[in-house]
Structure formats: structure tokens, C-alpha cells
């Protein structure tokens, strides 16, 4: 199966992710895939939450923190500015407190807490998590392509969905129990109505968002997760480990893309021994990949003669990957 048939045979797919170690070409493949889908007339949003996102670099356009920016027809790219998002969010919380209680200023103790909570590393992670949920629940696009941060983070992100889900279930249950006591007290006091529990409503809202996100991630019909590998020993081993971990989180792995493949005919020419060795080594690992992953490999991406930046190069690669059968 080729990358193209994967997309054509699964028209319900909406969420596409490329995972792999840093520097293997996830962004390149995400951008290429987004470009091709857009050129097929699909509305595509390519987004990244990595603070060191490279979408700006690959499209040679500053899009950081600017919301969805149109790149070509049908293609938008977005880089989320997590710091900005946290700052805005803090402001929003402060304003809510002022509005709710008619304070002139936020009590110092509370303000300190807001500042301290925002300084925690977990704050950025959970803010990013929320930003992704924000993006994927909109439903304005035919495809959402998520340019993931390197594997460790991706796994962290996935496990977080699970942890949050459990946390929120626990606390919602507690709140519901509290609600029952309120109910009893209200009945004994012969009160007709019980005030709505706003915290419970908030918890239910949060729960819905987290569920939406983990439902999407593990939906085999709508979500595709591709692994990017290169023919090198360490990478192959790491990818195998990562694939095992991903399957523990029920993330459907839809296939592998082998990147940075040196043209095999290169070895035939009169080239230095050093290059000959590199090529022989790569061919050995190509056979390894073939033996272990076999039919799950959807495409081999050749090592290009120059960096892939700018629309021209992306277009070339897209043609190569999707149109020419990409052997």
C-alpha cells in the first residue's frame, strides 16, 4: 500500500499525526502531506504546539502565535504560542474573580497562587493540551495534521489524556457525592430549590474536553498515526520501543515512512569508500526494516540534494511521495 492509497481508502480520516525522534523529518512529512491533501481540494489545517516549532521555517513565513495562517489555497498552518496562551488565561481567571465578587483587585494570596501555578512546568503541558483540544474540536477542516513534538513528548501527551481523564472522573464523583449531601440538607431545611453547583458544571466541561481529545487519539477510523524512521540502527530500535508504548495507549499506528533513503544507484558510480560504506550500511538497515515492518512501510522518501524548505521543494516532495508511487 502506498501513502496515497492509505488516504484514498480511508475517506473518514480527519486527524493525521507523524511521530518519530527529533530531526527525522516529521515536520517535512507533515507539511508535504498537508500540501498534497490541500492540492486535492481538501481543507487542511497543519498545526504545531512545539515552542521550537519549525512550520515557520519550512514555509518561510512567520506564523508563530498568529492563529491559522493561509499558506496556499485550502491549506492553513498554525503555531501555538503556549506562553502567550498562559498569560491570556491568567488574565481571564483574574478578571473572572473580579467580576464574580466585585473586588477592585485580586486578593494577594490568590494572585500569588495564580502566578505560582503558571510557573510550574506542568502548566505549559496542560495549556498545550488544552490548545490542541481547542483546535481539533472546531471541525472547520477536512484534515487536521498535528506536527508532533519528538516522541517522548508525544507519549507524555498521550498518557496525560489518560491521567487527566482518571483524575477528572475521580473528582467529579466526589463533587456529585457532595451534591447529594447538599440535597439532603436542603430537604431537611425544607428548601425548595438547590443552587446549581458551578464547580460541578466546570468539571463536566473539562471532562468533556479531555474525553473529546482522547477519543480522537484512539479512534482507528478517524485518526492515523504514522511513524517516521530512517535506516539507522538506533532509530530502528527506538522506534520499535515507541511503537510498543503507543500500542499500550491504544493509539492506532497506521504505518511507517522511511525517510532519508540514499539513492541506491549512487553506489554504482565511482565514489569514495566512506560513501560506499554509508550506502552498504543503509542497505543493511533497509533490509532490517523490510523484514520487521514489511507491508507497514508506506513510503520511502529519498534524501534530497538540498534542505526541504519553501513551497517549491515541498511540492516536489509531494509529487514524489504521492504521484510517482514512491518506490
Amino acid at each position: 500500500m502506498s501513502l496515497r492509497t492509505v488516504f484514498e481508502s480511508q475517506p473518514e480520516r480527519r486527524y493525521i499525526m507523524f511521530g518519530g525522534k527529533g530531526g527525522l523529518g516529521k515536520t517535512t512529512l507533515s507539511a508535504t502531506c498537508a500540501f498534497w491533501l490541500a492540492s486535492q481540494g481538501k481543507r487542511v489545517l497543519l498545526f504545531s504546539v512545539d515552542p521550537q516549532a519549525s512550520l515557520s521555517d519550512i514555509f518561510q513565513k512567520d506564523i508563530f502565535g498568529k492563529g491559522p495562517v493561509p499558506i496556499i489555497q485550502n491549506l492553513w498552518a498554525q503555531e501555538v504560542d503556549a506562553d502567550r496562551r498562559i498569560k491570556d488565561y491568567q488574565e481571564e481567571i483574574r478578571k473572572k474573580i473580579l467580576d464574580m465578587y466585585g473586588f477592585d483587585r485580586v486578593p494577594e494570596e490568590i494572585d500569588n497562587y495564580i502566578a505560582a501555578a503558571s510557573a510550574e512546568p506542568a502548566m505549559e503541558e496542560s495549556a498545550i493540551f488544552d490548545a490542541v483540544v481547542d483546535i481539533v474540536v472546531q471541525g472547520n477542516y477536512d484534515y487536521y495534521i498535528y506536527d508532533l513534538v519528538p516522541l517522548g513528548h508525544a507519549l507524555y501527551y498521550l498518557s496525560m489524556a489518560k491521567v487527566y481523564d482518571e483524575w477528572i472522573n475521580k473528582i467529579t464523583k466526589l463533587r456529585e457525592d457532595m451534591r447529594q449531601y447538599d440535597q439532603v440538607a436542603a430537604t431537611m431545611r425544607r428548601e425548595e430549590t438547590l443552587e446549581e453547583d458551578k464547580i460541578l458544571s466546570e468539571l463536566i466541561y473539562i471532562k468533556d474536553r479531555i474525553n473529546a481529545s482522547s477519543r480522537i487519539l484512539t479512534d482507528k477510523r478517524r485518526t492515523a498515526f504514522f511513524f517516521v524512521v530512517v535506516p539507522e540502527e538506533m532509530i530502528i530500535l527506538d522506534t520499535r520501543k515507541a511503537a510498543e508504548l503507543f500500542s499500550k495507549f491504544d493509539v492506532p499506528i497506521s504505518g511507517y515512512v522511511v525517510n532519508r533513503v540514499l539513492p541506491p544507484d549512487l553506489g554504482a558510480g565511482n565514489i569514495p569508500q566512506y560513501l560506499k560504506n554509508r550506502i552498504a550500511m543503509q542497505q543493511k538497515y533497509m533490509r532490517d526494516i523490510e523484514a520487521t515492518l514489511g507491508a507497514q512501510v508506506l513510503a520511502h522518501v529519498p534524501e534530497m540534494e538540498r534542505d526541504i524548505t519553501g513551497l517549491g521543494m515541498i511540492e516536489r516532495l509531494a509529487k514524489r511521495l504521492f504521484e510517482e508511487g514512491a518506490a
Binding site: I93, I110, I199, I206
Partner: protein, 91 residues
């Protein structure tokens, strides 16, 4: 309690010492030990809260709840941090 069975080593002086200890320091020791224990519990609550069902919150979402509990925060803190536990209430 077991004063009669004790070897005569301390004699009357030993018994007297025990009585003085019981009257003066024992209460303080108990207090110290108990404070230590409740501080220990508080520490565990903060670090290992998950074990008791006190969750370690994802901060983005805990901030979302903050406005609703703002008026209760100081009394809650006072309550959590005061060195009393259930045995104080019962005893």
C-alpha cells in the same frame, strides 16, 4: 502503673521522677509527637495526595476552578495547616 514491679534501682526517687514526668513533660511530649505526626500527614497529603484521592491537579484546569473557591481559600488553608487532628476533637 508498673512502678511496684520495677526493680528497686531508682527507689522512691525513681517513682517521684516518673510522677513529675507524668505531670509536666508527658503532655508536652505527647503534643510534640502528635504535632510531628500531623505535620508528617500534611507532608504526605501534599506530596502523595493521589494515594488518598486528593488529586494532583493539572494546573491549567485547577486555575479554571479557582474563581469559585476564592472566598474559601484562606479558611481552608487555616484549617489544613492548623495543628489539630481528629483525636483533638474526640479527646
Amino acid at each position: 502503673m508498673t512502678a511496684e514491679k520495677k526493680p528497686k534501682k531508682g527507689g522512691i526517687l525513681g517513682v517521684f521522677k516518673d510522677i513529675v514526668y507524668g505531670m509536666s513533660s508527658h503532655e508536652m511530649t505527647r503534643y510534640a509527637v502528635r504535632s510531628r505526626a500531623s505535620m508528617e500527614h500534611l507532608f504526605i497529603l501534599i506530596t502523595m495526595g493521589d494515594l488518598l484521592g486528593v488529586p494532583i491537579l493539572p494546573p491549567y484546569y485547577s486555575l479554571r476552578l479557582l474563581p469559585y473557591v476564592t472566598p474559601q481559600i484562606s479558611s481552608w488553608k487555616r484549617r489544613m495547616l492548623r495543628e489539630r487532628d481528629i483525636t483533638d476533637v474526640l479527646g
